[in-house]
C-alpha cells in the first residue's frame, strides 16, 4: 500500500496554467514593445486600462479574498497621487524613485485607518471607509501646499520629451500591473492566502485552528491600500494633474466594484478580464454618456444574482481552467488505477 501512496502526486500547476505561463511570455514582450508601435494617445489609453487592472486586482484582494467591501479606496488613490507629485515636485526626488516612497507612506497611513474601519463590519464597513476617504479629501483641500481645491500639476516629468515621457509612463504602468498581479498571486499561495480561504469558508472555525483573523485582514487591508496608491501614482503620471474632486471621486470605487463583479470575484484572472471588458465597454459606449454606467450597473446586479463567478467563471468552466493556480490538486489516477477504479478523480483544495 505504501508504494501505491507514494505514486500520488500533489500538484499546483495545471495544464492550463502551464500553457498560460508559456503564453504569457510573448504577450508581455508584445506589451513591452508597444510604445515603439502605438501612438502616444493610445499608450495613454492603455495606461488607464493598466491602472484599472491594478485597482481591480487590489479591490478583489480586499473583498474577494479578505471579505471586506470598501467604497473608500479612492482615499489611497488620492494620497498616492498627491504623494508622488509632492515628493517629486516639491522635495525634488526622482519621479520613479518617488513612487515607492508614496506607496510606503500610504501603507503607513492605512494602519491607523484600519483600526477605525475595523470597528465596523459588512455594509457599515463599506460606508465607513467612504467617510474616511471624504475626510481625507476635505483635509487635503485645506492644505495650500497641495493646491487646495483646484489641485496641483505634476511638473517633474516634463524634463522628458513628450514621446519619451509617455513611453516611460507606459512601461512603468506595465511593471505596476505585473507587480500587483504577481504579489496578489504570491499572497494567495502563501500561508496568509490559505488562512483567507479558511476565513472565507468559516471565520470561527479558521480562528479556532490558529488563523489570526484580524491580523490577516489588517495585512491585506494595508497591502490593498498600497497597491491602490500605486494605481494612484500611475493616474497622476498619466494625467500630469491631480484634482481633489476627481482623484478622490467615489466613482473609482464604483469602477473597481463593477470590474471585479463582472470579471469574477475571488479569482486572480477575474479582475483582469473584468477590466478589459469594462474598458472596452467604456470606449464603445462613450457616446451614450451616462447610459454606459446604467448598463454597467444593471449588468453588475444581474451578474451578482445569476452569475456569481462572473465572466471568468464562464470562460474557465467554473474554475477548471486556471492561469494562476492558487490551490493544490491531488493526482490520484495512479492510485485509483491500482484500486481498480475506472476513472481518475482530482480533488481541489484551493
Amino acid at each position: 500500500m505504501s508504494s501505491q501512496i507514494s505514486q500520488v502526486q500533489v500538484r499546483r500547476a495545471t495544464r492550463s496554467s502551464k500553457v498560460g505561463a508559456i503564453a504569457l511570455v510573448p504577450i508581455l514582450i508584445f506589451l513591452a514593445v508597444l510604445p515603439y508601435i502605438l501612438s502616444r494617445g493610445t499608450q495613454q489609453t492603455l495606461v488607464t486600462l493598466f491602472s484599472f487592472i491594478v485597482l481591480a486586482t487590489m479591490w478583489n484582494l480586499l473583498a474577494g479574498y479578505g471579505g471586506m467591501v470598501s467604497i473608500g479606496q479612492q482615499a489611497y488613490i488620492g494620497i498616492g497621487a498627491y504623494g508622488l507629485v509632492y515628493i517629486a515636485d516639491t522635495l525634488g526626488i526622482d519621479s520613479f524613485l518617488a513612487v515607492p516612497f508614496a506607496v510606503i507612506i500610504v501603507g503607513l497611513i492605512s494602519i491607523p485607518i484600519s483600526f477605525l474601519a475595523f470597528r465596523l463590519i459588512g455594509g457599515y464597513f463599506a460606508i465607513g471607509t467612504w467617510v474616511i476617504a471624504e475626510v481625507i479629501k476635505l483635509l487635503v483641500v485645506q492644505v495650500p501646499a497641495l493646491g487646495g481645491g483646484s489641485g496641483i500639476s505634476f511638473g517633474a516629468l516634463s524634463d522628458f520629451s513628450p514621446g519619451r515621457r509617455i513611453a516611460y509612463v507606459y512601461w512603468f504602468a506595465l511593471i505596476c500591473v505585473i507587480l500587483a498581479v504577481t504579489v496578489t498571486y504570491l499572497i494567495m499561495r502563501s500561508r496568509l492566502g490559505l488562512g483567507f480561504t479558511a476565513i472565507r469558508d468559516d471565520e470561527v472555525a479558521a480562528s479556532s485552528l490558529g488563523v489570526h483573523v484580524v491580523r490577516s485582514k489588517r495585512i491585506v487591508f494595508v497591502l490593498a491600500a498600497m497597491g491602490t496608491a500605486l494605481a494612484g501614482t500611475m493616474i497622476a503620471a498619466n494625467n500630469l494633474r491631480v484634482q481633489p474632486d476627481s482623484i478622490f471621486s467615489v466613482q473609482y470605487s464604483a469602477f473597481m466594484i463593477f470590474i471585479v463583479i463582472i470579471g469574477g470575484i475571488g479569482t486572480i484572472e477575474g479582475p483582469i478580464v473584468g477590466a478589459i471588458i469594462f474598458f472596452a465597454l467604456q470606449q464603445w459606449l462613450a457616446d451614450l454618456g451616462v447610459w454606459y454606467l446604467i448598463i454597467l450597473g444593471i449588468t453588475a446586479i444581474l451578474i451578482t444574482l445569476f452569475l456569481p463567478r462572473g465572466v471568468w467563471g464562464l470562460i474557465s468552466g467554473n474554475g477548471r481552467i486556471r492561469l494562476f493556480p492558487v490551490g493544490y490538486s491531488l493526482n490520484v489516477s495512479d492510485l485509483a488505477k491500482s484500486l481498480s477504479m475506472s476513472k481518475g478523480t482530482t480533488n481541489e483544495s484551493g
Binding site: 470575484i265 447610459w291 450597473g297 444593471i298 453588475a300
Partner: protein, 289 residues
C-alpha cells in the same frame, strides 16, 4: 448667528437626519442589509415630489400622499425582486446589488433631470419663522420636519414593539428559519419591512427637497449622514438613531459656525470620534442580536 442658535438649528437639522436614517436602521435591523441605495432613494422621492408639485401646482404636503405609497411600493418590489434573492446568494451579494442599484438610480436621475440643482417649491413656508428671542428664530419648515422625524421614530418603535407584523419582523431578525417554521412568510415580512423603510425615505425626501437644494448625486451625502446618525446612535436602536441624528446635526451647524467650510467635516470628525471611543454608539442595544 450665535452659539445657542447654532445648537437649536442643529437639533432641527438632526430631526431631518433621524428621519432619513430611520429606514436605513430598519432595513439593517430586520434583514442585516445595508442599503447603499438609501441616499439616492431619498433624492428619487424628492424629484418625484418636485414633478408632482410643479405639474399640478399643489402643496408639497399633498405630494406626500402620492410619494410615500409610491416609494413603499418600490420598496416592496426591490426587496422581493432584488434584495431577497441576493440574501439567498449570501456573502457580499446584498451589498453589491444595493451598490449597483444606487449607481443605476443616480445615473437615471442624471439622465432625466440633468445635474442641475433643484428644490421643491414650498411657497411662503420656506421663509416663515417665529421669533423665540431677538437672537433666535425658528423656521416653521425645520420645526415641522423635526416633529415629523420624532413622530416617525416613535411610531416605528411602537409598531415594532406592539403590532403583530412588527413582532414578526423582530422575530425574523432574530431567527428567520424558526420564524418560517411558525408559519410566517419571511419573504413577505421582509418585503413589508422594506416597503415601510422606503415609505419613510419618501417622507424624508419630500422634507429634504423643501429644505435644501438637491441634485442627482446628492444621495451620496444623504447616505453618509444617515449612516453616521445610525452609528453615532448605536446599531439596532431607533432611539439611538434619533439621538445620533441630533448629535450629527448639532456637530454640523456648530462646525459651520466656526468656519462655513467646516460643517460637514465637523460631522465626520464627531462620527470618527464616536467610532474610536465608543464604537457601540451612544445608545447601544442591551443584547446583541
Amino acid at each position: 448667528m450665535n452659539w445657542l442658535n447654532a445648537v437649536v438649528q442643529g437639533l432641527l437639522l438632526g430631526g431631518l437626519y433621524a428621519l432619513l436614517a430611520a429606514g436605513l436602521s430598519l432595513v439593517f435591523g430586520v434583514m442585516r442589509i445595508v442599503n447603499l441605495a438609501h441616499g439616492v432613494l431619498a433624492v428619487v422621492a424628492a424629484y418625484i415630489g418636485m414633478v408632482f408639485v410643479q405639474n399640478f401646482d399643489v402643496s408639497p404636503f399633498l405630494a406626500i400622499l402620492v410619494v410615500v405609497p409610491l416609494m413603499a411600493l418600490l420598496g416592496f418590489a426591490v426587496q422581493w425582486g432584488l434584495f431577497t434573492p441576493a440574501l439567498k446568494r449570501g456573502g457580499l451579494s446584498p451589498l453589491l446589488v444595493a451598490f449597483g442599484l444606487a449607481v443605476v438610480l443616480t445615473q437615471l436621475l442624471q439622465e432625466i433631470f440633468t445635474a442641475d440643482t433643484r428644490s421643491i417649491p414650498s411657497g411662503s413656508l420656506a421663509s416663515s419663522s417665529f421669533e423665540v428671542t431677538p437672537e433666535l428664530f425658528i423656521g416653521v419648515l425645520p420645526m415641522i420636519t423635526f416633529v415629523v422625524g420624532v413622530v416617525v421614530i416613535i411610531a416605528l418603535q411602537l409598531f415594532l414593539t406592539f403590532s403583530p407584523l412588527g413582532r414578526a419582523m423582530r422575530a425574523a431578525s432574530d431567527d428567520s428559519e424558526t420564524v418560517s417554521l411558525m408559519g410566517i412568510d419571511n419573504r413577505m415580512v421582509y418585503a413589508l419591512a422594506t416597503a415601510i423603510a422606503f415609505g419613510t425615505v419618501g417622507l424624508a425626501g419630500i422634507f429634504l427637497g423643501m429644505r435644501t437644494q438637491f441634485s442627482p448625486t446628492f444621495g451620496d451625502a444623504i447616505l453618509i449622514f444617515a449612516f453616521q446618525a445610525v452609528i453615532i446612535g448605536g446599531l439596532g436602536s431607533l432611539w439611538g438613531t434619533l439621538l445620533g441624528g441630533l448629535v450629527l446635526g448639532v456637530a454640523q451647524t456648530v462646525g459651520s459656525q466656526i468656519n462655513p467650510s467646516y460643517g460637514v467635516l465637523a460631522g465626520h470628525l464627531v462620527f470618527l470620534a464616536v467610532l474610536a471611543i465608543k464604537p457601540s454608539g451612544l445608545i447601544p442595544k442591551a443584547v446583541d442580536r
